[in-house]
Assembly symmetry: C2
Homo-oligomer: 429 residues x 2
Amino acid sequence: MREIKIGLLGLGVVGSGVYRLLSENGDFMAQKTGSRLTIKKILVRDLGKPRPVSVPDGTLTTRAEEILEDPEIEIVCELMGGIEPAKSYILSALSAGKHVVTANKAVLAEFGPEVFQAAEAADRGLFFEAAVGGGVPIIKTLRESLSANRIQTITAIVNGTCNYILTRMQESGLSFKEALVEAQKLGFAEADPTLDISGMDSAHKLALLATLSYGSFVPAEKVYVEGIEGLEPLDLAFAKEFGFLTKLLAIAREKEGEVEVRVHPTLVPEGHMLSSVRLAYNAFLLKGDFVGEIMLYGLGAGAEPTASAVVADLLDAARLIISGAKPTSILYRETPLDIKPMPRIVSRYFFRFSAVDRPGVLSKISGILGKHGISIASVIQKGRQIGGSVPIVMLTHEAEESAVRKALSEIDKLDVVTAPTKLLRILED
Amino acid sequence: MREIKIGLLGLGVVGSGVYRLLSENGDFMAQKTGSRLTIKKILVRDLGKPRPVSVPDGTLTTRAEEILEDPEIEIVCELMGGIEPAKSYILSALSAGKHVVTANKAVLAEFGPEVFQAAEAADRGLFFEAAVGGGVPIIKTLRESLSANRIQTITAIVNGTCNYILTRMQESGLSFKEALVEAQKLGFAEADPTLDISGMDSAHKLALLATLSYGSFVPAEKVYVEGIEGLEPLDLAFAKEFGFLTKLLAIAREKEGEVEVRVHPTLVPEGHMLSSVRLAYNAFLLKGDFVGEIMLYGLGAGAEPTASAVVADLLDAARLIISGAKPTSILYRETPLDIKPMPRIVSRYFFRFSAVDRPGVLSKISGILGKHGISIASVIQKGRQIGGSVPIVMLTHEAEESAVRKALSEIDKLDVVTAPTKLLRILED
Ligand SMILES: NC(=O)c1ccc[n+]([C@@H]2O[C@H](COP(=O)([O-])OP(=O)(O)OC[C@H]3O[C@@H](n4cnc5c(N)ncnc54)[C@H](OP(=O)(O)O)[C@@H]3O)[C@@H](O)[C@H]2O)c1
Ligand SMILES: NC(=O)c1ccc[n+]([C@@H]2O[C@H](COP(=O)([O-])OP(=O)(O)OC[C@H]3O[C@@H](n4cnc5c(N)ncnc54)[C@H](OP(=O)(O)O)[C@@H]3O)[C@@H](O)[C@H]2O)c1
């Protein structure tokens, strides 16, 4: 039985889950794989803090060197979060010849090239299944199972907090605020939920998935991002009348050598696989040139699902250690990757206009749309007054974002229009 | 650039897909992985047959030895189908020190121990992603991504033909016959569809998934099997009235040291992830002790998705060759696995009784159910006559299969009952 010693950086939500998994299923895993994973040292900030797992005396430390400089430790597992010191520790571990497992999407999405190149230079494995999708094996699927495919599109629900909030708004008519407070109470949203609801967390994850799919670093700041803060139950209700559910989607598409990467609330037709993804679940719909459409679905966060992914990575790292194999490269693309600017994307749109209830308004609005080459697919005009104005809701056929932007800015200047138009995009088929 | 030579056994639907994939995406894969997969020889029955791919002169052969005895060939890829000679060729390839990739679920589900042990003895990799779920990476997910988990349940739609037929019966009210003929016309069902519609193909696949999940060979003949031939649109319509869709499910569950393995038509609540799986798609819902529920979804057959899985296996085999790593064992369990006999399973049930339209019938039926400890959850009794009798449809609470069998055999002997009772099982939560 080969024993492989691990140093953990962090014993919080995920770290404790990993510790517990290795305690409970370690024997079973050793029987299966012929090697035993042992946690030798764990870095924390506060030695005295009560922990949900009981750890042998002397295992906890506040000195990172005790892990990073210990030659017996072959794998460093970074579960601290944040950029620094996590990033420096990952780099030191690699340059000390250790393999690294991390759940840190922020470090990878912001400093990918530095970290990926350090792993390549050290000829060590860098595993990050837990960084996206919690227990869902999306990273391995992209890196290994689909590696014979050209990835055409990724369409994903990658943030459980947002999906929870939208599900509750949709199904129970809660306002955004009410749904957020409920999510916080139940532990599905953090006290400061900004990173999630702004769409930034989704952008980090999409950047990583696009990087893996195209073999070239896609920085998170290249991702177009809209969050869910501005959504009103009214919009979700209108979308529903047209047969759509509203989801925060992370979308990457390659077309004619250009890649779109964007995160925004999106209308998904009822009956579509992604429309069944409720509450805190994540889902990844991938389209490859040979595999066609496949979808992976599961819990994207939480101590136990995330621990499942971290330990799968530890087992992969152990296999690499035992075989002495060369890890696969992440950044393999030779030609630069072109990111398509948002104004040039093409989509179908949902508009909600707020207008005074007067004859001729609809014809003014549709006149401007027509002038910009945007054609209308269907309209709902409700008699009901909301704050002195009536909503006019419209779905369009395919149009270019730049034309839409121009048309809406003209429309919003009309004196019959009482508030800025709401725009949502519709999922392309 | 390391070149790895492959011998293909078979150039039919899947073989041609693999050939085409390697031709179209070979350069891209080589750039990514640093190794190039080259097909050196291909075994076929008929050299003169027209092929959808054009292959260089001298590549095709009808002599298996030209592949099995060629020391340059490091991977044998078996895509012939059937038991013999496929099985003998797989065994010869392994004992000649070659790695094997196969899509042949029949050989693995019937002769698993022989083949798995041969791979173990030869210290060679045996890969079979394409044997279950076509392009869906279910095998790798069980073997690698979830290997830290104890698998509690697998609930899967593994046969696209049956799912296609049931979707059409459900959504358009076609009879089983009509839906089957349509599926045959569209290429979703074979001319002889017995293996699919009888549930045997699903049983083969379930046996393989259970073998991987529990580390002990589960022979296909231990799987309880009911097919879809006996389903009537009427039953699907009643199930729908109760809020269920009818799917052919393959179910494995471990509970208190025993494993259930069964394939039968099952009522799935509307809104459940598996209820959205339409037409020829497959889906695998897995529950592990840490990961919770995850689902994988995609096309379970067809040249291109299956080729995607075969080539992913070829890349894994190539990695194994380059690293000289030891392949992981499949049969690792040390204690024997107990298969729970069908009479002892517990489920909720759907019954459709055919009875004469006379007062007191319902009370007779429910009396017998009560006597056997089966309690009724809801009843629909329709006035409409069907062949001189009325259908009484009932859902039960949880009951043991043996009690249900006894009760139904008593009920079916009642003189007011005009035809054998239809029984369907309801998916456990
Ligand atoms: N939570 C999830 O569901 C989830 C899911 C997927 C990915 N992730 C990722 O997993 C990582 C960890 O998340 P988490 O939720 O487990 O975080 P957490 O509960 O806040 O735990 C962080 C741990 O790291 C330690 N730590 C933080 N900064 C440190 C420093 N400077 N020096 C020493 N120790 C330090 C903390 O020590 P003390 O305990 O002493 O404070 C704590 O044990 C993050 O990258 C996160 O994005 C989390
Ligand atoms: N089709 C799918 O969508 C699918 C999906 C998943 C898994 N699979 C599995 O993949 C395997 C192949 O299926 P397929 O649909 O590609 O079958 P197929 O179209 O019938 O092709 C079989 C190929 O094997 C050759 N062959 C058969 N017996 C042979 C023999 N005794 N000697 C030499 N060559 C022989 C045939 O040669 P000729 O061409 O000269 O006749 C043909 O090229 C099966 O195990 C199947 O279960 C298929």
